[in-house]
């Protein structure tokens, strides 16, 4: 796959507050890329830089090898799906969808079939003459999508488009988005703070925090091999513990030594140890590495979420078998489920 969009050394500040710090990013053609991070991390700013609504203080935006840093929004071959939909309230559904083509002076007899095609794509045929304010949130979102996609953009930018929808509708729209992206075969750059959404939809995820790219990778990579404790904590729930890496495959935390599968650390380096709640097994005393007492046990649907307090810390555990509160239990963690992280490491650090 070819590189379509490239961000080079992007720096952007608002009121002396650095929102993006040295962003380097390559976006492949036709991928579903998600920029994931907590609110205020700069993810929307990256999208707006690509869309042409902001210009960087330093750095370049490259599109298909051309520097488009100074190109105004209306000349860029990208379209945006705005967070608040931003449909034109003075136009009906048909005129909203046809808007972009009319600006390009495409003849009406060509516009009509394309609007119909788009409304079919977003499952809203027959809505042509409705006023946009009479539509539900989900319908408005679909119309906004039709309005953007009718221009046949090479890239669609999606700015937290599902944030305002309720859970059920959001699930429906997620699969809808994925279907549309597959059907059209164009690049989607999707911004969200919802890690589950990111894991479900994306080909690749960029985890962003405080204007710095933490990690880039496939959903599976990022979930299984988070690069630092921030990513581990943000993507799914985790037990993050202070540990010491004595030598290769030998780490100590929670007051005892464990065998792990990580190597190449300094001798006795202080590290973050990340263990997923589903990776902590509750076992009989003979096999146990740690002992603790059940503090709480909550039914979550598929599993039970338990807190077990050991001598040093509390472990969050997911298990399908409930335990009584106050019960003494033994804990066991497989070596490959112990993830060791250098403190504060981010994407690209190992290249230095």
């Amino acid at each position: 796959m070819a590189t379509q969009i490239e961000l080079r050394d992007i720096v952007k500040s608002f009121d002396n507050h650095r929102v993006l710090d040295q962003i380097n990013l390559e976006i492949e053609e036709d991928e579903f890329l998600t920029i994931l991070g907590p609110s205020g991390c700069g993810k929307t700013t990256i999208l707006r830089l690509i869309g042409g609504f902001e210009s960087p203080d330093r750095g370049q935006v490259i599109f298909d090898g051309q520097d488009i840093t100074g190109l105004p929004a209306y000349k860029r071959p990208v379209n945006t799906l705005f967070q608040k939909y931003s449909l034109f309230p003075h136009l009906n559904v048909y005129d909203n969808v046809a808007f972009g083509l009319r600006i390009k002076k495409i003849p009406e007899n060509e516009i009509k079939p394309r609007v119909e095609e788009m409304l079919r794509l977003v499952n809203l045929r027959g809505f042509e003459n409705r006023g946009v304010e009479s539509l539900s949130g989900g319908q408005q979102q679909r119309i906004a999508m039709a309005r953007a996609l009718i221009n046949r953009p090479e890239v669609l930018l999606l700015d937290e488009p599902l944030g305002a929808l309720d859970l059920k509708l959001r699930k429906d729209m997620q699969s809808e988005l994925k279907r549309i992206q597959k059907e059209l075969g164009i690049t989607f750059i999707f911004v969200t703070h919802d890690q589950e959404e990111a894991l479900t939809l994306s080909d690749r995820i960029i985890v962003l925090n405080e204007g710095v790219i933490q990690q880039i990778g496939t959903p599976i990579d990022i979930y299984n091999e988070p690069i630092n404790s921030f990513v581990a904590d943000f993507i799914g729930e985790s037990n993050i513990l202070e540990g010491i890496m004595h030598r290769d495959y030998d780490v100590s935390f929670s007051g005892r030594n464990f065998v792990c599968v990580d190597e190449d650390f300094y001798p006795d380096e202080a590290v973050d140890v990340v263990i997923r709640p589903e990776d902590v097994e509750i076992v009989s005393n003979g096999k146990a590495q740690l002992h603790g007492q059940v503090v709480s046990c909550i039914f979550m649907g598929v599993h039970y979420e338990m807190l077990v307090s050991t001598d040093h810390e509390e472990y969050l555990i997911h298990s399908t078998v409930p335990r009584e509160i106050g019960e003494r239990v033994g804990l066991f963690i497989e070596p490959e489920n112990i993830h060791i992280m250098r403190k504060g490491e981010v994407e690209g650090d190992e290249d230095l």
Binding site: A73, Y74, T80, F88, I103
Partner: protein, 275 residues
Amino acid sequence: MKTFKKVALPYFIWAALFIVVSLLMVVYYGFSGEGGLTLDNFARFFAGSTLKTLARSLRIAFITTVFCLLLGYPLAYIISRLMVGYRNLAIILIMVPMWMNFLLRTYAWVTILSKNGIINVVLRSLGFEGLDLLYREGAVILGMVYNFLPFMVLPIYTVLEKMDQSLLEAAADLGCNRFKSFTKVIFPLSLPGVASGISMVFIPAISTFEITTLLGGNKTNLIGNVIEQQFTITGDWNYGSAISIVLMVFLLLSLFFTGREEEATSMRVEEVVGE
């Protein structure tokens, strides 16, 4: 709901007394004469020279409204694009003259336009001949535009200022340059404000008599002057009421054409203006 009704009672009495009753009195006077109920007053109006005065009033009110729109829209647009602090300052500057007495403001123009007024003094000192500016239709229109311009600017400004900026980004995203963003999105969306401004200028412009008296002398009589004279000089209340009714019908028609959308905006503007 019952307590609400009790609280509303004084306002209800006020409205009944000063709006409904007085309106009914005007209608009664308009349709009555020496010998009881009659249509004579209207017949006299549609036969006589007052009809020409009405036509002239409509024309002058129309010209005033057009000038106010041509000046007011760009002004409102520019103000709405300023930074917040400057924006409020500009709006205050527009409103401050309105806190001054209306007649005083209009008198100021007499001293500017009159034969020995500021403009003519300056012209003569530069060696030009003085101009006859006052007591002409132009002076009346100038006075009206000056007095009623804020009523055009404020409703349009209110709409523009409240406009969702993300709509402009959406327009840019879909290929609109700044000019097209204006013609395709900003202007159509500001039409309720424009409609509101038009009726807020047109209605006082067609019924004013103070401005014509001060700046038009007796040469440019408008319908408002004729009505005033019927009550203050001639003492023919019946005829005056009849003309008022005709004028009211015209205003209702003009309101009908400017549409209902503007209601919301004009209410917001009244909060700002506080009159």
